[in-house]
Amino acid sequence: MTPTPMVEIASMIAWINRYADRISEHQAWLTALDAEIGDADHGINMQRGFEEVRMRLAHEHVDDLGVLFKGIGMTLLSKVGGASGPLYGTLFLRMGMVAAGKQTLTPVEFANAVAAGVEGIRQRGSARPGDKTMVDALMPAIIALHQALDDGATLCAALQAAAAAAEAGMKATIPMQAYKGRASYLGPRSIGHQDPGATSAFLLVQSAAESLCAAEHNSD
């Protein structure tokens, strides 16, 4: 039996760069979703933050996953602004706490780090599932991730399951009425629109699946 492939710094950087690509591609879409039930800036905010992250990653050499994630979190915190800045910032800061001092993570350690990050988002924003936020994409994703790993799936397969769950969670926000974030001001009018933050969250999980499956494939 081949040893469990470890999550490396390079593949984490690949993940984040891929996500930055996805955000750029979908900036207008995320902003348009936010125009419907928010203030038309989610794509702009995320792009501003992740372009800065991309730039810093290109210029800094990091050999500690804790430092990597903390740096990403701080950059998001200072560049994204709005609600999503502190929330995605918290995600990576918490991941950095779990991964502090490590150069690699096992898939389960990686899943635990992400779970801590999602828990951080829930604490910061106090959104509950069903409130029509990014939590509605992230919670199912983290449950599916753990479940698949428990069932012995590879990280690639587990992330694919997580991405599928995130996508379903994202779509499930459409019929929801918002109770947190800016869309909550619309009351019942928020029903029928997909949450922009849940959408960017799905893209984050999907990017992880894409880049880590590529990494797993390369290491075969």
């Binding site: 902003t31 125009a35 419907e36 039930i37 928010g38 203030d39 038309a40 800036d41 702009i44 905010n45 501003r48 915190l77 200072s78 560049k79 994204v80 602004g81 709005g82 609600a83 999503s84 800045g85 502190p86 929330l87 910061r124 924003g125 509950r128 109770y179 947190k180 974030g181 800016r182 909550s184 001001y185 619309l186 009351g187 009018r189």
Partner: protein, 331 residues
């Protein structure tokens, strides 16, 4: 998109630069991170009053920096709350040793970013109090929601807290005054058009020529409901009675009334609105002790207006009347 701008990516910085050129005797502008502080900051021994939020609401907040009002304003990108490091840098520039008062509009983004900044300050031993403004009666309030938005009362809270801080009140005192303002003020707004976020280039929403959005905030977003466009009086009735029906306006109360333009509405129309508001207050035996009519908390070039009523007593009127010298408010 018809705007007098050069580049959507730097509208905030260029506007700040204009302010720096225009008001050197009142304020200083820092770039990267962006913030505006009083020209004479830090004021030793004085509570520093700090506010911030997305840009696009001018003159709020930068136009309220100066004597008797804000020590610092932290402008985020258009409609996007500032980040903690911006707030921390502004705080460091104005900290006079008597603590910091954050005046925060209740939006998830503003709340989270100011909360993170406040945590950092506390860790560093700098006392911080936060006054949350959540006055928009269009939004249902509940424990399980994001709560009401902060809108027009912000302007009044900044003036009143600023006056108390200028007079030497302690952090606890200024915070208590701010919370009183927050508890006693209510607002509601209407939009006749949306606005265009420069980086987006298209209106956030499109309204037919015979419709309006009732219960809007200040971010060019749609409101609680869309309704057929009505007369100025009918609109004032909707906004004002929703406000009256909420606490705490009782017969015999005195109020400060703000009739606020959203950026694209002419002053003449605001006077017409004020006329009706004065009638409605009179019918209810509510005295408008002070008023403010104009563009104070805006949503870019949106056409529309908001009403704010703040129940006041002698103490709040005293702070309201205290001298203020800022780009946008002066007496």
């Amino acid at each position: 998109m018809k705007k007098l701008i050069n580049n959507p990516a730097i509208v905030v910085e260029e506007a700040l630069s204009g302010m720096a050129h225009a008001y050197p005797h009142l304020l200083r502008v820092n770039f990267c991170p962006n913030y505006i502080v009083r020209a004479d900051a830090p004021r030793r021994g004085k509570v520093a009053v700090i506010a911030g939020g997305g840009s696009g609401h001018e003159p709020m907040h930068g136009g309220f920096v100066g004597l008797g009002m804000l020590d610092a304003a932290c402008p985020g990108p258009i409609f996007t709350s500032p980040s903690p490091d911006q707030i921390l840098a502004a705080a460091a520039a104005v900290d006079g040793g008597a603590g910091l008062l954050f005046i925060v509009k209740n939006y998830t983004g503003d709340v989270l970013n100011f909360a993170i900044a406040a945590e950092e300050c506390q860790l560093a031993g700098v006392p911080v109090q936060t006054v949350l403004i959540h006055d928009d009666v269009a939004v249902e309030d509940s424990l399980y929601t994001a709560g009401r938005r902060g809108v027009g009362v912000t302007v009044l809270a900044e003036k009143i807290c600023g006056a108390a801080a200028e007079a030497g009140a302690s952090l606890e005192e200024v915070a208590a005054i701010g919370r009183k303002v927050s508890e006693q003020g209510r607002s509601m707004g209407v939009a006749l058009t949306s606005c265009i976020v420069p980086a987006v280039g298209r209106p956030t929403f499109v309204l037919p020529d015979d419709e309006m959005e009732i219960g809007i905030g200040i971010h060019g977003e749609p409101g609680r409901r869309r309704a057929p466009l009505q007369s100025a009086d009918a609109i004032t009735d909707i906004l004002a009675t929703t406000i009256f029906d909420d606490l705490p306006f009782t017969r015999g109360s005195r109020v400060i009334a703000l009739v606020n333009g959203m950026g694209g509405t002419p002053l003449m129309e605001l006077y017409i609105i004020f006329r009706r508001l004065a009638e409605l207050c009179e019918e209810r035996d509510i005295t408008i002790s002070r008023n403010l009519i104009g563009n104070y908390i805006t949503a870019l070039e949106m056409a529309g207006c908001s009403l704010t009523l703040l129940a006041v007593d002698d103490e709040l009127l005293h702070w309201w009347d205290a001298p203020v010298h800022t780009p946008a408010l002066r007496w």
